[in-house]
Amino acid sequence: MSTLKILVVDDEPGIRSGVGRILRGFRVDYPFMEEAYDFEVFEASTGEAGIEIIDNNRPDIVLLDNKLPGIQGVEVLEYVRKKNYNIIVVMITSYASLELAVKATSDGAYDFIPKPFTPQELRSSIENITKKVFLRTMANKLQVTGKQIRFQFLSVLSHELKAPLNAIDGYLKIAREHQLGDKIEEYDAILDRSLERIKGMRTLILDLLDLTKVESGKAKRDITQVDICQVVKTAIDTMQPYSIQRDVKVNLHCPGSLIMCADADELEIIFNNLISNAIKYNKDSGVVDCYIAEEEKNILITVQDTGIGMTEPEMGKLFQDFVRIKNEKTKNIAGSGLGLSIVKKLTENYGGVIKVSSVPDQGSTFVVTLPNAKPCT
């Protein structure tokens, strides 16, 4: 049981004691709430006395009459708002001052209860407010959870950024102290490794920038009519030096042109990640097939490789931040562990889904389904 504090500010003693009487023993309980709520009523006959109770007792709800002997109800409302108190204010007004009630509502009052009210009217209004208080509490809890996730992300990130720095630092010290002897060739391997780690770090930073765009940059999205076939072609071209180096053939199966409403940069990020993964985790002389198709109101993007594949448990972890599948087959493959998590977030921004199926040593297939909402909005 949780108790909400209600403050009644009214100069009529009858209203104050009435509220106390009506809410005594009243409980609000819904199946979706973790616990039931009951109420403790505080009374004030003036706005000044009300503010004192607000400061000292921090009520959850204030029932506020406007016509008071000293300062007016709206001034109490303004005080609550200025102090940024998390208090739900409800105006109790007579029908005659409806205009005032409207103004108070636009000034931050949550609701108004017309005077005179029946016990049932008061209870149902309090019931609604309690639901709101409950939702607000839940929202706060979720926000805290969000912050924890953020903290975890940053811890792992700092770890991922520090690892290459430590490695490079170590190599530089070896070189500085001539630990491998006087022949300059002896240092080639550690210099290559240092360059490799710098490259990895750069990829990580670029991926992070993509991720930041996905998570925060919605305002900058540029949704236009995009020929998705053209975007895939560009992505494949960009990847060509890499596919040649790995001797992996990338085939495109696209119906000539296929228009969808999207941000071209975002689509490119999706394709770059899926295709580069399909090359990276492929076998030598392997094949990557990209299929683009329209099915009912969806665009279907399929990227299929003939690579090392994954087990069920590995697939389960695949789309999380910084998760890299670590096994014998992947240990010499570099990556930031962010690519697929970026693809998933982007896909979800479009209301789409991403699915993966895979057979170890035979290959993996990623299917992205994006709703094609025409016309562009």
């Binding site: 770890h159 430590n166 170590g170 670590k326 240990k331």
Partner: protein, 134 residues
């Protein structure tokens, strides 16, 4: 100096860290065997008994270091184990190895920061080895 070479097992999935620690330890006169995964280390331990082991914490599993440490202690109770990790500092997770409760489940003898200076690492190794020989 030493008559028979002391063998140290170093397990880490970062090949650069592995190379650098190996170099440092060899320069200090140790024989070094390496493994780059929990799995490889387990296979290696079936045939070889090192005099001391230095383990990374997070490899193919988040707790690979703990698991390996447990397995080493089970098989070779007298082999000192150092867990070298970079995780502790950033996550704020600190394990006090000298705490009674932690000793029960963490089977390692020492926790060290990965960026630790090599002379400190060597002196820590020397200390654990000499305690073992007492």
């Amino acid at each position: 100096m030493r008559t028979t070479k002391t063998t140290i097992l170093v397990v880490d999935d970062d090949m650069d860290y592995l190379f650098q620690v190996k170099l440092k330890l060899e320069q200090s006169g140790y024989r070094v065997v390496t493994a780059d995964s929990q799995k490889e280390a387990e296979t290696l331990l079936e045939k070889t008994k090192p005099d001391l082991a230095i383990l990374d914490l997070m490899m193919e599993n988040e707790d690979s270091g703990f698991i390996l440490s447990y397995k080493i202690k089970k098989r070779y109770p007298d082999v000192p184990v150092i867990i070298a990790t970079a995780v502790a500092a950033e996550t704020g997770i600190t394990f006090d190895i000298n705490d009674e409760n932690n000793r029960k489940w963490i089977k390692a003898d020492q926790f060290l920061e990965k960026g630790i200076r090599s002379d400190l690492l060597i002196s820590e190794i020397e200390r654990l080895l000499s305690e073992k020989n007492v």
